[in-house]
C-alpha cells in the first residue's frame, strides 16, 4: 500500500481516532477542543478533508479510520515551510525584522562569535 503523508496536525488528529475509534463526531469535537485546542468547525473541516482523501470515514456521525497507523508517515516539516508561510501578516511584518537566510559562512562566523564570547 502506498504510504500516506500527513501534516503534524492531521497526524495528531488521527492519533485520537486510532485510539478511540469508532467514535461519535460530536464526542470527537469535544476531545479535540480539549487536547488540540481546536474549534468545532476546525474538527469538522479536518474530518471532511481526511475523508475526501480516504483516510477516514464519517457515517451516521461515527468516525472510523480507513488506514492503519503503520501505513502513514509524518511529513518532513522542511518540505512544507516555503509553501506554508508565504503572504502571512506576521511574515509581512517580519519581513523587516527577519532578514535573508544566513549563509553557511555567516552562520559559522556567528557560531565562532558565540564561542569566543562565552568561553
Amino acid at each position: 500500500m502506498e504510504e500516506l503523508k500527513l501534516f503534524n496536525a492531521e497526524y495528531r488528529f488521527m492519533d485520537i481516532i486510532w485510539e478511540l475509534e469508532p467514535i461519535n463526531s460530536t464526542e470527537l469535537t469535544k476531545i479535540c477542543m480539549q487536547s488540540l485546542g481546536w474549534k468545532k468547525s476546525t474538527t469538522y473541516t479536518m474530518i471532511r478533508k481526511l475523508s475526501e482523501r480516504g483516510i477516514l470515514q464519517n457515517e451516521e456521525a461515527t468516525v472510523t479510520a480507513l488506514v492503519k497507523r503503520e501505513q502513514v508517515q509524518k511529513y518532513e516539516s522542511e518540505a512544507l515551510l516555503e509553501k506554508a508561510f508565504d503572504g502571512s501578516l506576521p511574515a509581512f511584518l517580519a519581513a523587516f525584522l527577519q532578514d535573508k537566510k544566513l549563509s553557511k559562512q555567516e552562520a559559522e562566523e556567528i557560531e565562532k562569535m558565540i564561542e569566543e564570547a562565552t568561553k
Binding site: M46, S77, L81, A84, D86, A95, L97
Partner: protein, 746 residues
Amino acid sequence: MSSMFITVLNMSLIASYAALAVILVRLLISKAPKIYSYALWAVVLFRMVCPVSFKSTISLIPGKTDVIPHDIVFSQNPAIQTGIRNIDNTLNQSVAYSLPPVNPAASVNPMGIFLEIAAIIWLLGIAVLLCYSAVSYIRIRYRLSDATLVEDNIFETDRVKTPFVLGFTRPKIYIPTGLARNQLDYILKHEKIHIKHRDYLIKPIAFFALVLHWFNPIMWVCYFLMAKDMEMSCDESVMNQTSEDIRANYSNSLLLLSAKQSGLLSPLAFGESNVKSRIRNVLNYKKPAFWITVVAVAAVTAAAIGLMANPADRVVSSSTADKLFDCKTEYVGDASKVGSIASLLGYPERISYDYIELHTGSTPYAVTVHLKTDTKTKDYYSQAAYQAPFEKNAIIMFSLIGNADYINFNISDGSSDYMVQYSRDRANKNMGRDVREFAQGPEELEQLLGMAEHFDNTGIGGHQNSPGNTAEGEIRPVSVIIEENIDIIMSSPKESSNPQDYINAHRNEYESILKLGDQALDYLLSQFKKGGTNDLRGHIMMRLCKDMLGDRQSESDDTLLPKEWYSQLTIYEETRLPNFDYDGSDPIQSLVYAIEVENNTSSYRGGFVVVAPKIHAYYEAGGMLKVFVTTYYGNYHLYGKTLSPDGAGVVPAAITYVKDGKGEYKLEEYRQAMDVSYFAKSIEDFCTMPVSGKKIEGLAELILNHYGNYDDVTALHRENLIKHLKANNQTGVKYRLPDGEVVQLT
C-alpha cells in the same frame, strides 16, 4: 481630501524631524538597555498620528508645524516654510520651477490639481497596503486553525517555522513543531515577554501608522529600527529574568531558528544581518550600570518632551493682518489699541518699538511712535530716501486709526532723536484713496500690507526719484544727499525766475532736505559761511535755512538777497527753561499741577511746559482722591526774546490719587477725555466716585458746559506763562501769533 493629505504631509515632515533626532539619541544611548531606545519611538509614533500638540519654548522641532500651509492651493506663489531658510529656498525653487505660474483668472490652479492627484495616489497606496495586510491576516489565521494545543496559550504547527505571537485580545504563541526542548524554553520565554510588553498590539499600531505614511522612506526605516529595538529589548528581558548566564544557549537558539529561515520574506537587505546584531547584543549584555540608566532616562525624557512639544508661537506674518485688524480704532485716544498697532508693525532691522505718545489735546491729532536704535541706524534712516518702511507703517496706522491726522516716528539712539512725520493727506494721495477703506476687514488689510510691502522696494511718494536711493545698507554723507536734492530742485522749471516755483515743483526733494533737520542746517549755513551765492542755488538754500530756523532766527527783511540775509542773520540759541512750577499753597492744586506738567511734557519736543488747570470738583474716599479738571497746556521754546509755541491744547481729565504708606497722594490713574464723537461719552464715563465707582450726577454736564467757553483757563494759562517767564528772569519776551502780529508778554 487634499486638506487631509496636507495634514499628513505636515505630520510626516515633523515625524521625520523627530525620527532623525530619535536615531541620533539612539546612537548616544546605544550602550544603555534597549528598552530606552524602544521607548523613544513612541515620540515618532505620536508625531505620525497626532496632528496637534502642546506648545513650548523647549521644543526641539524647528520652525512651524504647519510647514505646508493649508491654503497653498489658493496662493499665487505656493511656498513651503520649514523654518529652515536653506531648505525653504531649495524646496520653493523646485516648487516654483515645477509649477506654471498661477493665472488668477483661471478657475483651477496647478498646485490644486497636483495636490488632488497626490492625495488620490496616497489613498490608493493606503488601500493597497490595508488590503494586502487583511488578506494575509485571514490566510495565516486559516493556516493556523489546525495548530494543536501544547499548553496554556501555546500552539504547535508544522505550517510555520518561526515562533511568533498572534492575536489582539487573547494573543497566542505559535511555535513550529519539532523544536528541541531546551531551545523551546528560551523561545517561549521570549514570546511570553512580547505578550507582557504588549508588543503584539504595538506592532500592528506602528504598522498602521506606517501605512498612513507609506510614501515616507524615513518612516520605513523607523519601523525597521523600532522592530529591532523591540526584539533586542525583549532579548534583554529574557536574560534579566534568568539568574544564570544563558547568553550562549540563548544565542544558539536564535542562530538555529534563523538558519532555518528562507530568504523569501525579506525585501530589505539591511546592512548587518539582523540575527547577527541581535546575537551580538545578547552576548554583550551586562546588567546596566546605574549611571547609564540615569543618563538614558534623562536623554529619553528630554528628547521625548522636546520632540512632542510644538515650538511656541512667534509672531507669524500670515496672521499679522488679523492681529492688526483687531486693534482697529476710531480714536487716537485709544491708547491700548494704538499701542498694540505700533508694537505689531514691522520695523527695519536694529530698530525696535519703544512706546507711543498720543497728541489728543486738540486737532491735528497725532501719534508719535518712539523707536529705539543705534546711532548709525538712526543716521541712516534720517535720510529721506530710506524712510519707505516708516511711510509704509504710517499708511497702515492711518488706515487703522480713524482720526489720526499725523503719524510721527521718533527714532532715538539714546542721546539724540530724529523724527519723521507723515500726514493722512499724503497717505491717501499715495494710495489713491482713503486708506481707511483698507481697514474694512482682515482681507482688505492683508491686501494693504501686501501693497505696502511692494512700496518697500520702490519707495513711495516720489521717493523713487529721490537721489540717494542707492543700495540699502550704505550710509551716505548728509552733504551729498542735500546737494543731489538741490540739483533736482534747480533742474526745472527753467523758464521761471522765482525760486519758489522751483521749490513748488519739487516739494518732495525740498522736504527730504528739511527732514534731515539740524544736520542739514549745519551744512547749509557752512556753505553761506564760505561765501555763498545769490543765484538760484543760494535762494533755495536761504529758504531752506529760513524754514528750518523758524523762530530761532532774528527778524529779517524778506527782500534781502541770500548773502545779505546771511550777513544779518542772528541765530538764537534756545534758552532752556524748566517746566512751570506751581508755587501756591493749595495741596489739591499742587497735586494737579504736578501731574498735568508731567503728562504734557514731551521728550522729543524739548522746550518747557506751562499748564493751567481748572478744577471742577474733587472727591476723597477710602484713601483715594479723584480730581476733575480741564487743563490748558502749552509747550514752548524760547529763542532769544521770541517765544515759539510747539503744541498746546485744552483737555478735560479725571486724575485719581491713592495714599501711599507715608500718607501722601500718589498718582493711580490719569484719564483724559477722548476725541470728537467720544468726547462727551468719555467724560461721562470717568465722572464716577473713587472706590465705589458710582456715577456723579451733574458733573459731566458741568465739565462739558465749561468746555463751551474756557476763557478762564486761557486767561490763567497766559497768567501762568507770564509768571513763569518772570520767575525765570525773562523780560522783553514776545510771542508771534500765526497772523504775524507780535504780542509782548513781559
